[in-house]
Amino acid sequence: MAQVLGRLVFPADVATGAAGAGTVGVCDLDEDAATFAVEAARAAIAQAAVEPASIQRIVVHGAGAGTVSTLQTALGTAATQVVENAPDPGGPGSCLEIEIHAPRAGKRDGVIGRQAGATATVKTPAARPTIRGAAARTPTQTAPVVGTADRFERLVKAEEEALRSVPMGAHIPKATWDASLEARYRLLASLCDTCQAGHHPPLPICPVCGNATRTISLWKPGRLYSWTSVASGPTEFDPWLNTWGEYVVAVVEYEHGIRVAGILRDADPNRLVAGEMVEPILRRVFAQEGAWRYGVKFRHAGT
């Protein structure tokens, strides 16, 4: 159904690179520059072995304000300067910074398709640029295949349908959704040290014993606890159903009794096994009032 994401991790002495020349990727309804930017950034930070909170600057090229704020929330780098479309791409870092290239969709070389993806590099302050970690996340499709144009047109049509106001989709006010972004983008949960109960999204007071809790991130693989293949769901998920057919919703189990629900990407519902490892990914979930809403979905761990 979907393309396998290409994973390109460059060695530390190589500067940023884009997806391989001549490659055109057609991304799925729920994938775009923002979600790839977050994955690339997380991978680069992990390779650089730095704390996300220590990143002082985010430099972004080719992406919109939405991508930037998604990045900030997902990385948890609240106190970071952001410079968009800086005039000196690839130049020396003035402080510990991460540089993201996140091109928007478009045609390339006359081939109908869409390329989305991102590359990220973590750079330390120095007279010479020192790259600590780099990663790229792109969809890969090595050559245009028969039906690519149809597929692309269908995808664009589904996106437009999603962004139009969906009649009788459940209207969660934007302010309410926005208040949950950190909990979604970093899969935050509260943990009670007194009784060990956990809760996602985080609750400041433990619902079981009433003591104060602390917040942790569950952005890591969890165990598949239950699933269903959905042929009939909320109206706002119809563009997904209409384009790709049934989707699988998983319940994923973490420690302290915490369970999270989200769509499981690229799953064969007839071959799922309880207890297998799945990992969270940040994806577009649905559209409301003409704007995409992002949240957690899952994929098989290690894919």
Binding site: Y225, P234, A261
Partner: protein, 375 residues
Amino acid sequence: MSPFGDRKETPRALFAAAVSECFESVDRDFEPKMVKEAWIGNLGMGGYQLGNLGTLGVEAAGLQTVPARRVENACASSGYALRDAYLAIRSGAVDVALVGGLEKMNDLSRAHQRYWLGVSGDTEWERSAGLTFPGTYALMARRHMIEYGTTQEHLAHVAVKNHANGSKNPKAQFQKAITLEKAMASANVCAPLRLFDCCSTTDGAAALVLASERVAKRLTDAPVWIRGSGAASDALAVFRRDSMTRLDATRRASEAALKESGRTIRDVQVAEVHDCFTIAEILALEDLGFCKKGEGGPYAASGATAIGGRTPVNPSGGLKAKGHPLGATGAAQAYELFLQLRNEAGARQVAGARVGLAHNVGGSGASCAVHVLEA
């Protein structure tokens, strides 16, 4: 109770018909003006009378000045309406109450219906994961299969039994029996739940008159007593509950109702349980205590729950065959038990039934009201 199904009548007409039949069913000396207060279960019918639905109901029933309110707990709305009226009468504040339920769903578009049918769970965290109620119950069914080996066939047995009962209920939405093969071959809705594992959308209304002991004895020599009432809440999202194969709200509500009644589940001779999906009846059989946890599948397939079985469950056809007008279901369950316990249920009569239990669930188990009735 009005006929349930795809009804042409307006909501007002449906409710008036149910109330009219209800008033006529009182054995003697009843006058509508004896009703002091009204509780009407309703989810919202598409939203065009969200406010003052209570007043719409009493107006349609010819009781314009009677104080009324809409009671809402998703599919458990009229079960809670029954409980609220019961508590008011027990407190001595009210001596005669009208309890009812009303829902009109089939005049809405499918998109509209899927809105109204999908905002009674955790909208922010469960619906946004791509789930409406077939999905949440499917997650419980899958887990039940993993933990206890419950099969598709076990689920289908519930549908077959309830459609067989519905064929004996002239007011049921679906009046044709179905075969096991037909149920198991139906299209996927949210795996493992297929079309015949899911109740339909239904229009309908139901009404009951409740009276204090003193007044009841004047009106009839064959009252049906509410001996116990229990209710409980649990997490909105199915995946946040302690177990996904058990409705703790059912357990707490039924324990409280049975305790108040002085009865145990073994004394219950007939039950109307909340089978919005086949898995829901299997969970109810376990959580109410008719069988052990995990054995609901085989128990449902054993014939013990058929009319003529050890403890008939859903002789009316249940939500599956009788229909599920969301706000009216709880009242309709009590209506069926009223007929059963007075030996007035005709072709679907459970012989000699004196003690009955009504089990009404909201959403996927976030709320539950249970009542124990006795003749």
